[in-house]
Protein backbone atom coordinates (compact mmCIF):
# COMPACT_ATOMS: atom_id res chain seq x y z
CA UNK A 1 0.00 0.00 0.00
CA UNK A 2 1.47 3.33 -0.91
CA UNK A 3 2.16 5.76 1.97
CA UNK A 4 -0.54 8.27 1.04
CA UNK A 5 -3.29 5.65 1.01
CA UNK A 6 -1.92 4.21 4.24
CA UNK A 7 -2.04 7.64 5.85
CA UNK A 8 -5.64 8.14 4.76
CA UNK A 9 -6.59 4.66 6.02
CA UNK A 10 -5.04 5.41 9.42
CA UNK A 11 -6.81 8.78 9.46
CA UNK A 12 -10.19 7.11 8.89
CA UNK A 13 -9.54 4.48 11.58
CA UNK A 14 -8.44 7.13 14.08
CA UNK A 15 -11.56 9.16 13.24
CA UNK A 16 -13.88 6.19 13.82
CA UNK A 17 -12.14 5.16 17.06
CA UNK A 18 -11.95 8.72 18.36
CA UNK A 19 -15.62 9.46 17.73
CA UNK A 20 -16.56 6.02 19.05
CA UNK A 21 -14.56 6.52 22.24
CA UNK A 22 -15.92 10.02 22.83
CA UNK A 23 -19.49 8.83 22.29
CA UNK A 24 -19.00 5.85 24.61
CA UNK A 25 -17.74 8.17 27.38
CA UNK A 26 -20.65 10.55 26.85
CA UNK A 27 -23.17 7.70 26.95
CA UNK A 28 -21.71 6.31 30.17
CA UNK A 29 -21.83 9.79 31.72
CA UNK A 30 -25.49 10.29 30.74
CA UNK A 31 -26.49 6.72 31.44
CA UNK A 32 -29.08 7.55 34.10
CA UNK A 33 -30.67 10.33 32.06
CA UNK A 34 -31.13 8.08 29.04
CA UNK A 35 -33.38 5.72 31.01
CA UNK A 36 -36.85 6.09 29.64
CA UNK A 37 -38.45 5.09 32.94
CA UNK A 38 -37.80 4.33 36.62
CA UNK A 39 -38.85 1.10 38.33
CA UNK A 40 -40.97 0.86 41.51
CA UNK A 41 -37.80 -0.19 43.35
CA UNK A 42 -36.13 3.08 42.31
CA UNK A 43 -39.07 4.96 43.79
CA UNK A 44 -38.95 2.91 47.00
CA UNK A 45 -35.23 3.66 47.27
CA UNK A 46 -35.98 7.37 46.85
CA UNK A 47 -34.12 7.61 43.52
CA UNK A 48 -37.10 8.92 41.58
CA UNK A 49 -37.55 12.71 41.32
CA UNK A 50 -40.00 14.33 43.72
CA UNK A 51 -42.42 17.14 42.78
CA UNK A 52 -41.62 16.57 39.14
CA UNK A 53 -43.06 14.45 36.33
CA UNK A 54 -41.25 11.18 35.74
CA UNK A 55 -42.00 7.85 34.11
CA UNK A 56 -42.69 4.72 36.08
CA UNK A 57 -42.38 1.32 34.41
CA UNK A 58 -43.42 -2.10 35.67
CA UNK A 59 -45.90 -4.95 35.45
CA UNK A 60 -49.58 -4.48 36.24
CA UNK A 61 -50.17 -6.71 39.27
CA UNK A 62 -52.72 -9.52 38.78
CA UNK A 63 -56.13 -8.70 40.22
CA UNK A 64 -55.20 -5.15 41.10
CA UNK A 65 -57.07 -3.28 38.34
CA UNK A 66 -60.12 -1.46 39.68
CA UNK A 67 -62.32 0.64 37.45
CA UNK A 68 -64.39 3.40 39.00
CA UNK A 69 -68.12 3.84 38.43
CA UNK A 70 -67.70 6.65 35.92
CA UNK A 71 -65.84 4.17 33.74
CA UNK A 72 -62.83 6.34 32.96
CA UNK A 73 -60.79 6.38 36.13
CA UNK A 74 -58.79 3.29 36.93
CA UNK A 75 -56.41 2.35 39.72
CA UNK A 76 -53.94 -0.49 39.61
CA UNK A 77 -50.74 -1.62 41.27
CA UNK A 78 -47.45 -1.52 39.37
CA UNK A 79 -44.82 -3.97 40.49
CA UNK A 80 -41.32 -5.09 39.60
CA UNK A 81 -41.67 -8.04 42.03
CA UNK A 82 -39.58 -6.21 44.59
CA UNK A 83 -41.69 -3.11 45.29
CA UNK A 84 -45.29 -2.10 44.56
CA UNK A 85 -46.78 1.29 43.78
CA UNK A 86 -50.44 2.17 43.36
CA UNK A 87 -51.21 4.15 40.21
CA UNK A 88 -54.29 6.27 39.53
CA UNK A 89 -55.18 7.22 35.96
CA UNK A 90 -58.18 8.53 34.11
CA UNK A 91 -58.24 8.28 30.34
CA UNK A 92 -58.09 5.81 27.49
CA UNK A 93 -55.86 2.80 28.06
CA UNK A 94 -53.89 1.28 25.14
CA UNK A 95 -54.98 -2.03 23.56
CA UNK A 96 -52.21 -3.99 25.20
CA UNK A 97 -53.08 -2.82 28.72
CA UNK A 98 -54.00 -5.84 30.84
CA UNK A 99 -53.06 -7.49 34.09
CA UNK A 100 -49.56 -8.94 33.93
CA UNK A 101 -48.62 -6.58 31.08
CA UNK A 102 -45.59 -4.30 31.24
CA UNK A 103 -46.56 -0.63 31.07
CA UNK A 104 -44.95 2.78 31.43
CA UNK A 105 -46.89 5.54 33.20
CA UNK A 106 -45.96 9.23 33.08
CA UNK A 107 -46.96 11.30 36.07
CA UNK A 108 -46.17 12.52 39.54
CA UNK A 109 -45.89 10.90 42.95
CA UNK A 110 -48.59 12.29 45.26
CA UNK A 111 -48.05 13.00 48.97
CA UNK A 112 -50.09 9.88 49.84
CA UNK A 113 -47.62 7.68 47.93
CA UNK A 114 -50.04 7.14 45.03
CA UNK A 115 -48.61 7.75 41.57
CA UNK A 116 -51.00 9.98 39.62
CA UNK A 117 -50.51 9.24 35.92
CA UNK A 118 -51.52 11.52 33.08
CA UNK A 119 -50.38 9.07 30.41
CA UNK A 120 -50.22 5.28 30.31
CA UNK A 121 -48.25 3.47 27.57
CA UNK A 122 -48.08 -0.29 27.07
CA UNK A 123 -44.64 -1.84 26.75
CA UNK A 124 -44.78 -4.82 24.47
CA UNK A 125 -42.41 -7.78 24.86
CA UNK A 126 -40.41 -9.36 22.05
CA UNK A 127 -42.41 -12.61 21.85
CA UNK A 128 -44.63 -13.37 18.87
CA UNK A 129 -46.70 -16.55 18.59
CA UNK A 130 -50.12 -17.77 17.49
CA UNK A 131 -52.78 -18.00 20.27
CA UNK A 132 -52.80 -21.82 20.13
CA UNK A 133 -49.09 -21.93 20.83
CA UNK A 134 -49.45 -19.55 23.76
CA UNK A 135 -52.14 -21.84 25.18
CA UNK A 136 -50.20 -25.02 24.61
CA UNK A 137 -47.26 -23.64 26.55
CA UNK A 138 -49.35 -24.80 29.55
CA UNK A 139 -48.87 -21.37 30.96
CA UNK A 140 -51.02 -18.33 30.38
CA UNK A 141 -49.05 -15.58 28.59
CA UNK A 142 -49.21 -13.39 31.65
CA UNK A 143 -47.57 -16.10 33.76
CA UNK A 144 -44.77 -16.40 31.25
CA UNK A 145 -44.20 -12.68 31.24
CA UNK A 146 -44.18 -12.50 35.01
CA UNK A 147 -41.43 -15.12 35.13
CA UNK A 148 -39.45 -13.20 32.56
CA UNK A 149 -40.03 -9.99 34.46
CA UNK A 150 -38.77 -11.64 37.64
CA UNK A 151 -35.74 -13.01 35.83
CA UNK A 152 -34.88 -9.60 34.43
Amino acid sequence: MNPRRKRRLIMVLVLVMGIGGATALALVAFRENLLYFNSPSDVAAGKAPKDRLFRLGGMVKEGSVQRSDDGLSVTFVLTDYASDITVRYSGILPDLFREGQGIVANGKLGPDGVFVANEVLAKHDENYMPPEVAESLQMPPTEKMRREGAAR
Partner: protein, 248 residues
Protein backbone atom coordinates in the same frame (compact mmCIF):
# COMPACT_ATOMS: atom_id res chain seq x y z
CA UNK B 1 -10.85 -12.93 -9.25
CA UNK B 2 -8.82 -9.74 -8.79
CA UNK B 3 -8.90 -9.15 -12.50
CA UNK B 4 -12.68 -9.37 -12.43
CA UNK B 5 -12.91 -6.88 -9.56
CA UNK B 6 -10.53 -4.47 -11.28
CA UNK B 7 -12.55 -4.63 -14.44
CA UNK B 8 -15.76 -4.11 -12.47
CA UNK B 9 -14.31 -0.95 -10.96
CA UNK B 10 -13.96 0.59 -14.40
CA UNK B 11 -17.12 2.58 -15.18
CA UNK B 12 -17.50 1.13 -18.66
CA UNK B 13 -17.52 -2.51 -17.57
CA UNK B 14 -19.58 -1.76 -14.51
CA UNK B 15 -22.23 -0.13 -16.68
CA UNK B 16 -22.46 -3.17 -18.92
CA UNK B 17 -22.38 -5.87 -16.20
CA UNK B 18 -24.79 -4.06 -13.86
CA UNK B 19 -27.21 -3.67 -16.75
CA UNK B 20 -27.29 -7.46 -17.11
CA UNK B 21 -27.78 -8.11 -13.39
CA UNK B 22 -30.56 -5.64 -12.67
CA UNK B 23 -33.49 -7.56 -14.27
CA UNK B 24 -32.54 -10.77 -12.46
CA UNK B 25 -32.15 -9.03 -9.11
CA UNK B 26 -35.47 -7.22 -9.56
CA UNK B 27 -37.25 -10.48 -10.42
CA UNK B 28 -35.76 -12.22 -7.36
CA UNK B 29 -36.73 -9.28 -5.14
CA UNK B 30 -40.33 -9.21 -6.40
CA UNK B 31 -40.72 -12.96 -5.88
CA UNK B 32 -39.26 -12.90 -2.36
CA UNK B 33 -41.25 -9.84 -1.25
CA UNK B 34 -44.46 -11.34 -2.71
CA UNK B 35 -43.78 -14.63 -0.86
CA UNK B 36 -42.98 -12.82 2.37
CA UNK B 37 -45.99 -10.49 2.23
CA UNK B 38 -48.39 -13.27 1.23
CA UNK B 39 -47.02 -15.52 3.98
CA UNK B 40 -47.02 -12.73 6.54
CA UNK B 41 -50.16 -10.78 5.75
CA UNK B 42 -52.43 -13.66 4.69
CA UNK B 43 -51.16 -17.04 5.86
CA UNK B 44 -49.38 -16.41 9.16
CA UNK B 45 -51.54 -16.79 12.28
CA UNK B 46 -52.56 -13.75 14.32
CA UNK B 47 -50.46 -12.94 17.37
CA UNK B 48 -51.68 -14.14 20.78
CA UNK B 49 -51.64 -10.62 22.20
CA UNK B 50 -51.68 -8.13 19.35
CA UNK B 51 -54.04 -9.97 17.01
CA UNK B 52 -53.73 -8.88 13.39
CA UNK B 53 -52.02 -5.60 14.25
CA UNK B 54 -48.68 -7.34 14.56
CA UNK B 55 -48.61 -7.88 10.76
CA UNK B 56 -47.07 -4.45 10.21
CA UNK B 57 -43.87 -6.16 11.39
CA UNK B 58 -43.46 -7.56 7.84
CA UNK B 59 -42.93 -4.02 6.58
CA UNK B 60 -41.49 -2.34 9.68
CA UNK B 61 -38.72 -4.75 10.63
CA UNK B 62 -37.21 -5.36 7.15
CA UNK B 63 -37.29 -1.58 6.54
CA UNK B 64 -35.54 -0.93 9.86
CA UNK B 65 -32.90 -3.59 9.14
CA UNK B 66 -32.30 -2.09 5.71
CA UNK B 67 -31.91 1.40 7.19
CA UNK B 68 -28.95 0.12 9.23
CA UNK B 69 -27.53 -2.14 6.50
CA UNK B 70 -27.60 0.55 3.81
CA UNK B 71 -25.89 3.01 6.14
CA UNK B 72 -23.05 0.55 6.67
CA UNK B 73 -22.74 -0.03 2.91
CA UNK B 74 -22.80 3.73 2.34
CA UNK B 75 -20.17 4.50 4.99
CA UNK B 76 -17.92 1.62 3.90
CA UNK B 77 -17.98 2.56 0.24
CA UNK B 78 -17.49 6.24 1.13
CA UNK B 79 -14.43 5.24 3.19
CA UNK B 80 -13.09 3.14 0.32
CA UNK B 81 -13.60 6.09 -2.00
CA UNK B 82 -11.81 8.36 0.46
CA UNK B 83 -8.81 6.09 0.98
CA UNK B 84 -8.25 4.48 -2.42
CA UNK B 85 -9.83 7.25 -4.53
CA UNK B 86 -12.10 4.87 -6.41
CA UNK B 87 -14.76 6.92 -8.21
CA UNK B 88 -17.22 4.06 -8.36
CA UNK B 89 -17.13 3.65 -4.57
CA UNK B 90 -18.05 7.32 -4.14
CA UNK B 91 -20.94 6.85 -6.55
CA UNK B 92 -22.17 3.84 -4.54
CA UNK B 93 -22.30 5.97 -1.40
CA UNK B 94 -24.09 8.81 -3.19
CA UNK B 95 -26.59 6.40 -4.78
CA UNK B 96 -27.29 4.56 -1.49
CA UNK B 97 -28.22 7.60 0.59
CA UNK B 98 -31.72 8.32 -0.80
CA UNK B 99 -32.64 4.61 -0.68
CA UNK B 100 -31.47 4.35 2.92
CA UNK B 101 -33.31 7.53 3.86
CA UNK B 102 -36.51 6.10 2.33
CA UNK B 103 -36.22 2.86 4.31
CA UNK B 104 -35.52 4.82 7.51
CA UNK B 105 -38.57 6.98 6.89
CA UNK B 106 -40.68 3.88 6.20
CA UNK B 107 -39.50 2.25 9.45
CA UNK B 108 -40.32 5.39 11.45
CA UNK B 109 -43.77 5.83 9.89
CA UNK B 110 -44.84 2.17 10.19
CA UNK B 111 -43.56 2.10 13.78
CA UNK B 112 -45.58 5.20 14.56
CA UNK B 113 -48.75 3.75 13.01
CA UNK B 114 -48.30 0.60 15.11
CA UNK B 115 -47.38 2.54 18.22
CA UNK B 116 -50.62 4.50 18.42
CA UNK B 117 -52.96 1.54 19.06
CA UNK B 118 -50.42 -0.72 20.79
CA UNK B 119 -48.41 1.60 23.03
CA UNK B 120 -50.99 4.37 23.17
CA UNK B 121 -48.81 7.02 21.52
CA UNK B 122 -47.51 7.96 18.07
CA UNK B 123 -44.06 8.86 19.31
CA UNK B 124 -41.92 8.74 22.44
CA UNK B 125 -38.40 10.07 22.91
CA UNK B 126 -36.89 6.77 23.99
CA UNK B 127 -33.38 5.73 22.97
CA UNK B 128 -34.39 3.47 20.04
CA UNK B 129 -36.78 5.91 18.38
CA UNK B 130 -34.53 8.92 18.89
CA UNK B 131 -31.42 7.20 17.52
CA UNK B 132 -33.38 5.98 14.46
CA UNK B 133 -34.59 9.55 13.85
CA UNK B 134 -30.97 10.69 14.11
CA UNK B 135 -30.13 8.13 11.39
CA UNK B 136 -32.70 9.76 9.10
CA UNK B 137 -31.05 13.15 9.74
CA UNK B 138 -27.61 11.64 8.99
CA UNK B 139 -28.88 10.40 5.62
CA UNK B 140 -30.49 13.76 4.84
CA UNK B 141 -27.37 15.60 6.02
CA UNK B 142 -25.18 13.45 3.76
CA UNK B 143 -27.44 14.14 0.78
CA UNK B 144 -27.65 17.86 1.55
CA UNK B 145 -23.90 18.22 2.04
CA UNK B 146 -23.11 16.49 -1.25
CA UNK B 147 -25.69 18.57 -3.10
CA UNK B 148 -24.34 21.81 -1.62
CA UNK B 149 -20.75 21.33 -2.84
CA UNK B 150 -20.20 22.07 -6.49
CA UNK B 151 -16.88 20.27 -6.97
CA UNK B 152 -17.45 16.52 -7.27
CA UNK B 153 -14.28 15.44 -5.46
CA UNK B 154 -14.77 17.84 -2.57
CA UNK B 155 -18.40 16.74 -2.26
CA UNK B 156 -17.36 13.08 -2.11
CA UNK B 157 -14.70 13.82 0.53
CA UNK B 158 -16.97 15.90 2.78
CA UNK B 159 -19.78 13.35 2.48
CA UNK B 160 -17.43 10.50 3.31
CA UNK B 161 -16.26 12.16 6.54
CA UNK B 162 -19.88 12.76 7.62
CA UNK B 163 -20.86 9.17 6.76
CA UNK B 164 -17.89 7.74 8.69
CA UNK B 165 -18.60 9.89 11.76
CA UNK B 166 -22.24 8.75 11.67
CA UNK B 167 -21.25 5.06 11.88
CA UNK B 168 -21.06 5.49 15.66
CA UNK B 169 -24.87 5.72 15.68
CA UNK B 170 -25.36 2.23 14.19
CA UNK B 171 -24.41 0.11 17.25
CA UNK B 172 -26.30 2.61 19.42
CA UNK B 173 -29.50 1.97 17.44
CA UNK B 174 -29.02 -1.79 17.59
CA UNK B 175 -28.20 -2.05 21.30
CA UNK B 176 -30.37 0.85 22.54
CA UNK B 177 -33.14 -1.55 23.59
CA UNK B 178 -30.68 -3.60 25.66
CA UNK B 179 -28.62 -0.81 27.23
CA UNK B 180 -31.52 1.31 28.47
CA UNK B 181 -35.10 0.87 29.62
CA UNK B 182 -36.94 1.83 26.46
CA UNK B 183 -40.58 1.63 25.47
CA UNK B 184 -39.49 -0.22 22.34
CA UNK B 185 -39.28 -3.96 22.90
CA UNK B 186 -36.04 -5.93 22.79
CA UNK B 187 -34.73 -7.78 19.72
CA UNK B 188 -36.84 -10.73 18.57
CA UNK B 189 -34.71 -12.19 15.78
CA UNK B 190 -31.20 -10.69 15.93
CA UNK B 191 -30.12 -12.00 19.31
CA UNK B 192 -27.83 -14.70 20.62
CA UNK B 193 -30.71 -16.85 21.82
CA UNK B 194 -33.10 -18.46 19.38
CA UNK B 195 -35.65 -16.04 17.87
CA UNK B 196 -38.60 -15.28 20.16
CA UNK B 197 -41.01 -15.71 17.30
CA UNK B 198 -43.01 -18.70 16.15
CA UNK B 199 -41.51 -20.32 13.03
CA UNK B 200 -44.73 -19.83 11.00
CA UNK B 201 -44.37 -16.06 11.53
CA UNK B 202 -40.60 -15.94 11.23
CA UNK B 203 -40.17 -17.49 7.77
CA UNK B 204 -42.24 -14.83 5.90
CA UNK B 205 -40.36 -12.13 7.83
CA UNK B 206 -37.00 -13.49 6.67
CA UNK B 207 -38.30 -13.82 3.08
CA UNK B 208 -39.47 -10.21 3.09
CA UNK B 209 -36.14 -9.09 4.57
CA UNK B 210 -34.16 -10.96 1.88
CA UNK B 211 -36.45 -9.46 -0.77
CA UNK B 212 -35.87 -5.94 0.58
CA UNK B 213 -32.12 -6.55 0.52
CA UNK B 214 -32.08 -7.70 -3.11
CA UNK B 215 -34.41 -4.84 -4.03
CA UNK B 216 -31.84 -2.46 -2.54
CA UNK B 217 -29.03 -3.99 -4.62
CA UNK B 218 -31.13 -3.73 -7.79
CA UNK B 219 -32.07 -0.08 -7.20
CA UNK B 220 -28.59 0.97 -6.10
CA UNK B 221 -27.15 -0.53 -9.30
CA UNK B 222 -29.73 1.37 -11.34
CA UNK B 223 -28.86 4.62 -9.60
CA UNK B 224 -25.10 4.08 -9.88
CA UNK B 225 -25.52 3.33 -13.60
CA UNK B 226 -27.24 6.63 -14.22
CA UNK B 227 -24.62 8.47 -12.13
CA UNK B 228 -21.87 6.78 -14.17
CA UNK B 229 -23.50 7.92 -17.42
CA UNK B 230 -23.79 11.46 -16.12
CA UNK B 231 -20.21 11.60 -14.92
CA UNK B 232 -18.69 9.96 -17.99
CA UNK B 233 -20.90 11.85 -20.44
CA UNK B 234 -17.88 13.29 -22.26
CA UNK B 235 -15.99 10.00 -22.56
CA UNK B 236 -15.72 8.01 -25.75
CA UNK B 237 -17.60 4.90 -24.67
CA UNK B 238 -20.68 6.86 -23.61
CA UNK B 239 -20.79 8.71 -26.96
CA UNK B 240 -20.48 5.37 -28.73
CA UNK B 241 -23.23 3.91 -26.56
CA UNK B 242 -25.50 6.81 -27.42
CA UNK B 243 -24.79 6.33 -31.12
CA UNK B 244 -25.64 2.62 -30.82
CA UNK B 245 -28.88 3.40 -28.99
CA UNK B 246 -29.75 5.79 -31.77
CA UNK B 247 -29.77 8.92 -29.60
CA UNK B 248 -28.63 11.92 -31.62
Amino acid sequence: MWKFIHRLASPKHFYRIAGKWIPWLMAAAVILIALGFYGGLVKAPADYQQGDSFRIIYLHVPAAWMSLFIYMVMATSAAIGLIWKIKLADLFATASAPIGASFTFLALVTGSIWGKPMWGTWWVWDARLTSELLLLFLYLGFMGLQAAIEDRRNAARAGAVLAIVGVVNIPIIHYSVEWWNTLHQGPTVTRMDKPAMHISMLIPLLQAAAGFQIYYFATVLMRVRSLVLQQERRSGWVRELLREEGVR
